[in-house]
């Protein structure tokens, strides 16, 4: 009795875990804002199973560094630069969960689910990267112009959406923050100024919080689209001080459990552009144990940079790649010529490597050629899902029919276990974050047919034992015992081939292999453990059972 109870608890636990994986949860998705046409984050409720591109429609691109105009010496480096560039442009894709990843050594995979316009997507990816250095708004001209902008917006009927409470908590937060940043030598003189007037409820200023650097502002992550759309208004554009532009940063800062994006007011004229940059390397200074990025400019670039940095000592220099400010703007400590160094302080070397990659991406653009392109229309994906589900229902119904007709009550037990099997398999896909593809869907249907094999083996064995004149209880025990080696050997060998398929396959085929492997694992659990438990309960209720319905 104890064992039955503990088995039931184990099954109940597994089932609860599986169902918990499949409960619709809030998933963050980027969607196109209807009013502004920009991308924003929203959360939607859905069952957390990822659908492959072949099921939801979208674009799959494989890119390689173009070597047709001469060999590229280090293609791994080139593809890393390209990845960095494509990532900074990720917002421009009209898609919910873009995938950008390096495959192998020198191949870039971009997957854009739901994207319909391949030409546009390719244009965004293959555009040459543009790197520039610009001085931030050192005189806080933008901040001084904020009241005017707020007034103009209020006149136009725009209401403030920022809440006083949230603003207060941020101001408080800044107290600790300034303390942390004391190590910075040329800290903006204005940063210490009162921030209260900034947080006054104006339509725009209520969204902005003063950052650590002159011209740096923080925008609550969820308010970024609002701020962007306000800044894009022509009446606001007119009031932005002459010679200044606003650029969003790539960094997301976390303060008191809320995340903020950086927004920079920068000069509209770059002091230098990426075309003069020759190389950049990240190292860790062994003496000070600081991460640094060393960069080298061309001779002409060195002259320009020398002149410009001479005029801007103690100013902050924003590094802008494709219109996005990368990381925190460093301060210019002294006049810099052909060779410069950006110190990142105690930040990890990884950050320095990222920055070096940014500089190189602008300096040595990596031309990409498309070696593989797949576009699947959303309607085709829906048709595939519908057909797949129809086939699945019919296939499973047939399996159920065969099992119940042939094995009667034992068949019903197997079918009950089969229901658990389907839940476990889907939960496995959701829980491990694997993607369900069209071949995967086929694999799922197929594995239902294969899953009952273990039960067939066991039931046949029980029938044989009964035929040899064994008692019901012994026949069940012996049946499970003797069928075990065959079940394990056959399942392991199938799993091995599926695993190899996973290793060599790509995209949809990997989805198939994964579904098959999870299916095999789930079928072992249900066919052996769950059905055994059902039998135990059954025999426990009817200890004097003389014949078994099998």
């Amino acid at each position: 009795m104890r064992t039955i109870r503990s088995r039931l608890i184990a099954i109940g636990g597994l089932l609860a875990l599986a169902v918990w994986q499949l409960i619709p949860t809030d998933v963050t998705q980027r969607v196109r804002d209807a009013t502004t046409g920009r991308m924003k984050d929203t959360t939607i409720r859905r069952v957390p199973i990822n659908l492959g591109l072949d099921l939801q429609g979208g674009i799959h691109l494989a890119l390689e560094v173009d070597q047709s105009k001469g060999p590229v010496p280090d293609c791994a480096d080139a593809i890393q630069r390209a990845e960095k560039v494509v990532r900074t442009r990720i917002d421009e894709f009209g898609t919910s969960e873009p995938v950008v990843q390096i495959q192998g050594r020198c191949r870039l995979i971009v997957e854009l689910a739901g994207e319909k316009d391949p030409a546009r997507a390719k244009g965004i990816i293959q555009r040459t990267a543009f790197l520039e250095f610009r001085i931030t708004d050192m005189k806080n001209l933008f901040r001084d112009a904020l009241p005017e902008i707020d007034k103009a917006l209020q006149r136009a009927g725009v209401r403030a959406s920022g809440q006083g409470a949230a603003a207060a908590s941020v101001t408080q937060l800044f107290g600790t923050d300034t303390g942390k940043a004391k190590g910075k030598p040329a800290k903006g003189k204005a940063a210490a100024k009162d921030t209260t007037d900034l947080n006054a409820p104006g339509p725009l200023s209520s969204l902005l919080f003063q950052g650590q650097v002159n011209g740096e502002y923080l925008v609550p992550e969820e308010q970024v689209p609002v701020a962007e759309s306000l800044l894009a208004r022509p009446d606001v554009q007119r009031l932005i001080p002459r010679g200044l532009e606003l650029k969003l940063g790539t960094e997301v800062l976390s303060r008191a459990g809320r995340s903020y994006r950086t927004l920079y007011a920068v000069e509209d004229r770059p002091i230098i552009t990426g075309e003069y940059l020759q190389d950049a390397k990240a190292t860790r200074d062994p003496l000070t144990n600081q991460s640094v990025v060393n960069f080298v400019l061309s001779r002409r670039g060195g002259r320009i940079f020398e002149r410009e940095t001479g005029r801007h000592v103690q100013d902050y220099m924003a590094i802008i790649l494709d219109g996005r400010v990368q990381g925190q703007p460093p301060v210019i400590k002294s006049q810099i010529g052909q060779r410069g160094q950006i110190e990142l302080g105690a930040k990890p070397l990884q950050d320095a490597q990222d920055l070096a990659l940014v500089l190189k991406a602008g300096a040595l653009p990596a031309p990409l050629t498309i070696i593989e392109e797949r576009t699947i229309g959303p309607s085709l994906g829906q048709d595939s899902i519908r057909d797949g589900i129809h086939a699945g229902i019919v296939g499973v119904a047939l399996v159920v029919l065969i099992m119940v007709v042939y094995y009667r009550l034992s068949g019903v037990l197997a079918v009950a276990a089969l229901a658990l099997y389907v839940v476990f398999t889907l939960a496995g896909l959701a829980g491990f974050g694997f993607t369900l593809t069209l071949p995967g869907l086929a694999g799922l249907v197929l594995s239902v047919g294969i899953a009952v094999d273990a039960n067939v083996l066991i039931f046949e064995r029980i029938r044989e034992e009964l035929q040899h004149g064994k008692l019901v209880r012994t026949a069940v025990d012996e049946g499970f015992k003797h069928a075990m080696s065959a079940i394990i050997d056959s399942n392991v060998s199938t799993a091995l081939t599926a695993f190899i398929l996973y290793l060599v396959g790509t995209g949809p085929v990997q989805g198939f292999a994964i579904t098959l492997i999870i299916g095999i694992a789930a079928s072992m659990i249900t066919a052996i453990f769950v059905v055994r438990t059902f039998y135990m309960i059954w025999l426990d209720r009817r200890p004097d059972m003389a014949t078994l319905s099998v």
């Binding site: 071949p439 086929a442 047919g449 083996l457 949809p508």
Partner: protein, 339 residues
């Protein structure tokens, strides 16, 4: 209670020569055809462009061909795909343009504009449901990978079976599976199915399924060899096949039910996969009985096992066991030493 083939006592092994003949009759013409005409590889393997379009009305493949001809796109295959108003256009890369990377996606754009000129503007008159443009490099890589996958799956299962059973069993199982791959290639050739990566996936799944089936029988052979010390291998193989026959029929039935459902209902994209899988289940079951078991007998005869299993196979049924034969290999060692 329904019982199929309970207490069956068929002499399966006796029919092995007929089975060989049948399987040769499938494989040889299929393979001849395969050698002459090759397989219908999908553009994933050859490189090229595939476009699936849905037209507002069923225009017929000829209309699409003339549209493409007018735009100077030749050598494209046009095929009706599922519904009457859906077509697949395939332009495979020839050897001549295989050197140019990235040319495949321009073909897709060219086909699009050619259709727009003949059929009318895009969303109203026709819709592009799917495009695939694969460069020659990716295609070549995939070919290599597919062969690698099949090769490695053989090695891995051989090792696994050698560990779990014995190398003789493993060899027989792998050879039977190899036979299944041959018949499946012949099957693909007969139906002229398109070999995509998913179909290769089906072949690999078949490898797993067929091995699975063979293992079930071999597991029973292993057990019966221990249980019936006096029977010879011929009898034990027959007994084991007969004992597992109900299971073979049942599992065959359930898996077949799902694959047939896939063939009929799962749509055009999955159909080649489902067809190959359906055939694979058939050939996997067939080879486990008629190929793997007789092969095991042959291997045991040729290289007798140390525990006298091979010796038993050599004796006529019912005879008294003799002393085990001297360990093989020792005469060779001596002759080597003499040289």
């Amino acid at each position: 209670m329904i019982r199929l083939f309970a207490n069956a006592n068929y002499d399966f092994i006796k029919w092995r020569r007929w089975a060989y003949g049948l399987t040769a009759a499938i494989i040889i013409p299929g393979f001849a055809l395969f050698l002459v005409r090759g397989l219908n590889y999908s553009i994933e393997f050859t490189g090229g462009t595939l476009i699936q379009v849905q037209t507002a009305e069923p225009v017929g493949p000829d209309r699409i061909r003339s549209a493409l001809d007018a735009a100077g796109i030749r050598d494209a295959e046009i095929q009706q795909f599922g519904a009457a108003n859906e077509y697949v256009i395939r332009a495979r890369l020839g050897r001549a343009d295989a050197a140019v990377e990235g040319s495949t996606e321009t073909t897709a754009a060219a086909v699009d504009s050619a259709l727009a000129r003949t059929l009318g503007p895009a969303p109203e008159h026709y819709k592009i449901l799917r495009t695939e443009a694969v460069g020659p490099k990716v295609g070549r890589e995939l070919q290599g990978k597919a062969f690698l996958a099949i090769f490695f799956s053989f090695i891995v299962t051989l090792v696994y079976l050698a560990v779990r059973f014995e190398w003789r069993f493993g060899l027989a199982a792998v050879l039977a599976t190899f036979h299944d791959i041959l018949t499946t290639i012949a099957f693909i050739r007969y139906l002229d199915l398109e070999v995509s990566l998913v179909v290769v996936g089906a072949v690999l799944t078949m490898v797993g399924y067929s091995l699975n089936d063979t293992i079930i029988i071999f597991d029973r052979v292993r057990e019966n060899l221990r249980k019936f010390r006096r029977q010879n291998l011929y009898e034990i193989l027959n007994l084991s096949i007969n004992e597992t026959l109900p299971r073979s029929v049942l599992t065959h039935g359930t898996t077949m039910a799902t694959t047939v459902a896939l063939v009929l209902l799962a749509g055009e994209v999955l159909r080649p996969f489902a067809l190959v899988m359906t055939f694979a289940i058939f050939t996997g079951t067939f080879s486990s009985i008629y190929i793997a078991a007789p092969l095991l007998m042959y291997i045991e005869k040729r290289w007798p096992g140390e525990d006298a299993r091979g010796a038993r196979a050599l004796r006529p049924p019912g005879s008294v066991p003799l002393n085990p034969p001297p360990p093989s290999g020792s005469p060779e060692v001596r002759s080597k030493a003499a040289v």
